[in-house]
């Protein structure tokens, strides 16, 4: 672990306001999901964001992943602010620097496992032959050799989540963000997935930030950030 700061949040807040007409928007109170949060993540971390339901874990990951915009504050990546980027620049940032693992796997059902893993590389313009080779390699890292041509509906939940992890790491992102990656898995499969993520972190130096409220999952993390009502505990 080099200790280089990858992501830095300064005074970040997120307030969800109900969708009402503009004339009434000031009157609508809104829900504070994240409140004036200062937080930093270093390269090579294997960190967990913990907290009960509604504590702001997913919102925090969404903000770090730039798939939601903060109401206040700034988020910087390697010292450069990303909260002021336009849609295309944010898309490029996510494409090259981030990997995502979702609770419900979110694989594209019409693509095979390998095609799902290849997709970020296709967006990057990598040649067909190279991206196929890298997808097969990523699938082997997550222990799915031989299942490259299966569609998601022919894979178990654990296998689908492994494909999702392969998709998240195939383009060598700086950070993988995983929102409750084990929530839909049984305990044995969840433990296996976490071991695999930890292994990828150790062997390949990939930074993982994941959220969970499961103590057994959190016990694997090197750093646990506790959230309560959108604030650090």
């Amino acid at each position: 672990m080099s200790g280089e700061t990858l992501i830095e949040l300064k005074q970040v807040s997120k307030v969800y306001r109900p969708k009402v007409k503009a004339a009434f928007s000031d009157a609508a109170p809104g829900v504070i999901a994240i409140e004036k949060l200062d937080l930093a993540f270093s390269k090579g971390e294997f960190s967990a964001i913990a907290g009960p339901s509604g504590s702001g874990k997913s919102t925090l990951l969404n903000l770090i992943g730039t798939i939601d915009a903060p109401t206040d504050g700034t988020i910087a990546f390697r010292g450069k602010t990303v909260t002021n980027l336009d849609e295309n620049a944010l898309a490029d940032f996510r494409l090259h620097q981030l990997g995502f693992v979702f609770q419900a796997y979110n694989l594209i059902p019409v693509l095979t496992a390998a095609e799902n893993v290849e997709y970020p590389l296709a967006l990057q313009g990598v040649s067909r032959a190279e991206r196929r080779a890298r997808a097969i390699e990523a699938l082997s890292w997550v222990g799915l050799d031989g299942l490259a041509d299966r569609r998601p509906d022919l894979l178990s939940g654990g296998q689908q989540q492994r494909v999702a992890v392969a998709r998240a790491i195939v383009h060598r992102p700086a950070v993988v963000l995983a929102d409750e990656p084990t929530a839909n898995l049984d305990s044995k499969t969840a433990a296996s997935l976490l071991d695999m993520m930890l292994d990828l972190n150790k062997k390949h130096g990939i930074t993982f930030i994941f959220s969970s409220h499961d103590p057994t999952v959190l016990s694997r993390a090197r750093r646990v950030i506790h959230l309560q009502d959108g604030r650090l505990q």
């Binding site: 919102t59 969404n62 992943g65 798939i67 939601d68 849609e87 295309n88 898309a91 490029d92 996510r94 494409l95 090259h96 981030l98 995502f100 979702f102 419900a104 979110n106 594209i108 059902p109 019409v110 693509l111 095609e115 997709y119 970020p120 296709a122 967006l123 990057q124 067909r128 998709r167």
Partner: protein, 407 residues
Amino acid sequence: MRETVLLAWRNLWRNSRRSALTIGSVSCGLAAVMLGQSLMKTIQKQMVEKSTGIMLGHLQAQAKGVRDHRVPERVYPRPAAFEKSLREHPFVQAVSARIKFTGLVYSPQGSRGVLVVGVEPETEAKISIIPGYLKEGHYFGGGERDLVLGDRLAGELDVRIGEKLVVMAQAMGTEMSSELFRVAGIYHSGSESYDGQVVYVQLPAAQRVRGVPGKISYLVAKLPDPELVPSVIADLGSKAAAEGADLLSFRKIGLEVEAIIRFEDAILIVVLFIIFSIVGLGILNTVAMSMFERVREFGTLRALGARPVVVVRMIAVEALFLGSLGALAGLCLGGAIIFWWGTTGLHLPIGKALSYWLPFDAVVYLRPVWRMHVASAAGLVVVSLVSAAGPAFRAARLVIAEALRSL
């Protein structure tokens, strides 16, 4: 781009029944448009063939200043130099001269008001379809006093082949003039007005009755294709003018034909608009349904790093597939229907309606108008794309975090 096309193609068949129904509705819409286009254009073509063949010709060179182009009130000397140029023009198949006026025809049993047409039988036979309608006798050839008339008029005057008739008209600028003719031929065109009101005599005899020896109402020309008329007018219009004539298209003379063609074309545009709107709404519905079902997927793609344009492109390609497959199927379906009715013929009551004015076959044999059909197919593809634009831009503007929460 390959991935976008692959994804779009596979997405299309996620709900194969819905996609097949949409493609079916596009193809049926296009087939209906093609049928309408073919029917209208076949009818128009027959109308042009019949109206130009029975009287108008494709081109007429009339004296300058004529007010009523259908029965020119002015005559003029034959424009020899222009006539030579007209005959020698590569697009012109035949040229003849006519004199046309209204008069009375008498038989021992009665009289009728008629339109008298003085013709040159040899060249006229290359232009007019009347010789093809002869049911008794022959198309001139017996002498200068031969007369050819319709069977309805022959019946009203109670005359048969070889019997005598008197044609009387007002000689130009003087008193009434008359001449004796003998019935040489009786035709049946199926048109009440032609069969009951038009008589054909030879040009010199008609000129004598009209009191204008050597003069004509107009030169008439036949071309292999009515579409060539404008180019002949462009080539020879100024030469006609130099000899005191106006070179006119049949469309300018046969105003009824022109009006009907324009009316039918306007109907076609309305039908096209209605069908395009229906097809467009169908595709909009399919694309919008598909979009709402896949909101989380769009969120995932965007989260993975797809720019908004990637989402727009993917939905546009899906719509393009729907429109193109529908258009292709429609071209096949429409082509097959047109081929079928082009072979077996389509019975239309329109023949009866038009028969007073023009001879018109009750059975029409449809012909494809591929230029129009392909343009309509291309139009449908464009409509598909336009219909998908709304859902596509909406999908591209989704808030990713919200889209990912969608079920």
